[in-house]
Symmetry: C3
Subunit: 349 residues, 3 copies
């Protein structure tokens, strides 16, 4: 599987600088590449990392031309490096058994051309599956679901009844779409579940992470817009209407009846209270707890979340407290007031 | 499927105000209802929302009588609206195949009357399942579990061995009951797993959300009390004893050996340290981190959590810091001390 | 099943103090043990708990010798108590059906001696499973995975293609190894998924909790080191290299390309930003949000996380604010400046 640097340069249509006969045995990232391997550096920021790396050659963009070792310069570093990695470790193609006899497919289901249904998947009544879909082992598609073309459901994903998925959607293992919304009213000392008449509707080109949960709406759909990506272990509450092209990182929780605009970004472990609207291009920092509607394009962070610059200012103020204490003591001395030790004061409001 | 307003008023036994011949084509919530549809408004607080909504009619309670469009007044807005939604979108009844031949049921299992076991569910040795239970596709019930009557297990829920569920319990897709408690002792540089001899015991009328995990006890049961509701992606540690009628929202984590009283409420993403007791009717705000036992009926919030009024007071104090700085500068001028810039001071304690 | 105290003392090879003829009907922990049962107290700290407990006898270590009731003194309280609990509630042995005919095992898979594959598990092409492994119902092992000897996969665990597990690994129900990393680049207004050419590699003696997600690497492996334990609902991002013997509690989220040393401890709900290194023996307090590389052996807490002692100091400073306000008012009076009420000041920076 070894290749010379010249061969690699040809493979990725790149410009070689250095010894073209050098033999390369593998490809790995900066953090782990060893001598004899080729690595990648997509940005001059990584110069120091590259200096510490033992790789024998490096794929770089025009904007970063290190001289420490042979380089292959390309237009798109990641496209080129993917091609190199794929040479050394050819990716496995998914088994394509057609519709496995070990799957369970209800007779009323409509299955498009070229659909793959792996062993032990289960497809319920009146389900529609578009052309070219891949339904992995253990997927559960309950009655009345409709799935657009070229969508992939990874193992053990679950769609409750009447879930609608667009085209080219990817749902990862263990994700659950359409479970009950968490809404109760107290009657005679018991929590009574609210109506669960809605469902989940997912647009085109959406990706949904492993073990992510999207609850059904109360009376209508919970909606995920086209092109939005949800990471693993995310919670989307009932009745939410998530916009297009959002990026929602791992372990984010969005309470019921929230909405978002387009191109909203939420970092990991963010929480959003119910019935709020995140405007277009809002950016929420990791672990933020949001309790108000946001304005378009603004950045928020903190618990409770505030605008980013305000959060930095608040933190700076708290850091100044030791100095404030010193100045007060100095003033007391100047005013001939007794020098009280703050540490020994009782806590009084 | 269209209905006149008069027909809808009769359907929900409500009082019609306005044009009874108006034709209604559908039902939707305030946020999304369009002209030709009927919506609901359960509270005068929603007056402004209603003004912005294009719906042609609205279901209201006696306490809210808007004049902007025809109304149907009912005793319980949500019961009435559920009936209307169900007319326009009749809910799907779950397939009831009896015990599917494509399920795996151990010969030693005792299955009650009218139990449904969907394809590819798995029921282990010595399992007991009460009358009227619904076991969806992909559910795994390990050896020795006992399940009360009229309980529903949604797809891919997992019960480890000896789990006990009460009557009318709902377990959502991907929930896991009875995995190992996270307890280790360090011996010779390795973490050794503690005893895992207990199990999980769940009372009557409990609902457990999607991908929620409840660990087994060390020597005895982890307990979930009657009527308690757990949302999605919740973590209940080993040995916990959760009381009755608690509401535990999404992504809450409760460490090992905690207990709670009755009617405790935890908002989303709360964390509770191990071995603590949350007293009856404690309310924990979203994202709180609790490190002490709570008192009955009190509200806590923050990281670390404090009583709600104390949290508000602390936040108010930090907001006053700019004014405190101004007053200190003023005093320094009055005392003819040099006007030091805080911003340029080194950070000293 | 009842035993006399003498019989129990013999069972655990302990030293009896008190009435050996006392009949014991069960064993339970301090929080729940009743009269007629035996309990355990592994530490003098539990003296007060023991006083409130109705148990008729107690298993104790040499270092704690209460006189309130009969005791059995042993070298290792937990080993002894496990033996007693197992007498009263013999643990269930897992069904060992060999390779169930109701499982799906691809003909190309290599299965070691004594492997158990339960009904409705699915084993893909070119999979290797070492001797003595237990593959529970609903487990999905995609093509090309390699699993070391004596590893257990609980129900509905999912291994994407090419996942590698060491020996004696335990993967709990619903865990997902190898889903797509959450990396996208924006092109023409759409988020384009980055390369997904890597996989997940797990060392020996690792335990992975229920519904925990470990994403595959971009170009190479995401790595979990020998002896590391992950609790439930944990997120490990793509390209992470987790060291040996880490303890990572429930709902922790580690963003992409992080690394950790050995014996790192993370309490519940911690979040770590991407590309950071947690040094050997770092300890992160519950709910911390870490935004920098840590130093070996140090403890951090807070949002954003700081060193533990610094966090305590910051909290102490905020608690002193009321007293600072009082002293400033006093100074103003001494300087004959007007006594402004802070509460009525506008918020100005």
């Amino acid at each position: 599987m070894s290749l010379t640097l010249s061969e690699i340069a040809r493979l990725v249509e790149g410009r070689l600088t250095g010894d073209g006969d050098l033999l390369i045995q593998g490809a790995a990232t900066l953090a782990v590449a060893r001598a004899g391997e080729i690595t990648l550096a997509d940005n001059p920021k990584h110069a120091a990392h590259l200096d510490r790396c033992a790789a024998s050659a490096v794929v770089v963009p025009e904007s970063f031309q290190p001289e420490s070792r042979p380089t292959i310069t390309v237009a798109d570093v990641h496209v080129a490096f993917s091609r190199i990695v794929s040479h050394f470790h050819p990716p496995r193609t998914t088994s394509r058994p057609g519709i496995s006899p070990a799957a369970f497919v209800d007779a009323s289901a409509q299955i498009g051309d070229g659909v793959e249904i792996h062993p032990q998947a289960c497809v319920g009544r009146d389900v529609q599956i578009g052309a070219g879909c891949v339904i992995h082992s253990g997927v559960r598609i309950l009655d009345g679901c409709r799935i657009g073309a070229h969508t992939t459901l990874f193992p053990n994903a679950v769609l409750y009844e009447n879930t609608v998925l667009g085209e080219r959607v990817i749902v990862h293992a263990g994700a659950v779409l359409g479970a009950h919304g968490f809404g109760y009213s107290l009657a005679a000392g018991k929590h009574k579940l609210c109506a669960q008449l809605g469902s989940v509707q997912v647009g085109d080109d959406v990706e949904i992470g492993a073990a992510t949960a999207i609850d059904r709406g109360t009376y209508g759909p919970t909606v995920i817009g086209d092109g939005t990506k949800l990471d693993n272990l995310v919670q989307i509450g009932h009745n939410c209407r998530i916009g297009k092209h959002n990026l929602i990182c791992s372990q984010v929780g969005i309470a019921g009846s929230c909405s978002t605009g387009d191109y909203v970004v939420m970092a990991g472990q963010v929480g959003i209270a119910d019935h709020l609207h995140m405007a277009d291009r809002t950016v929420l920092g990791a672990k933020s707890g949001v309790m108000f509607d946001t304005e378009p394009g603004k950045r928020y962070i903190g618990l409770p979340a505030v605008e980013e610059r305000e959060a930095f200012r608040g933190a700076a103020l708290v850091r100044q407290l030791p100095e404030l204490k010193k100045q007060i003591q100095e003033l007391r001395r100047a005013a001939a007031l007794p020098a009280q030790s703050l540490e020994t004061q009782p806590e009084a409001a």
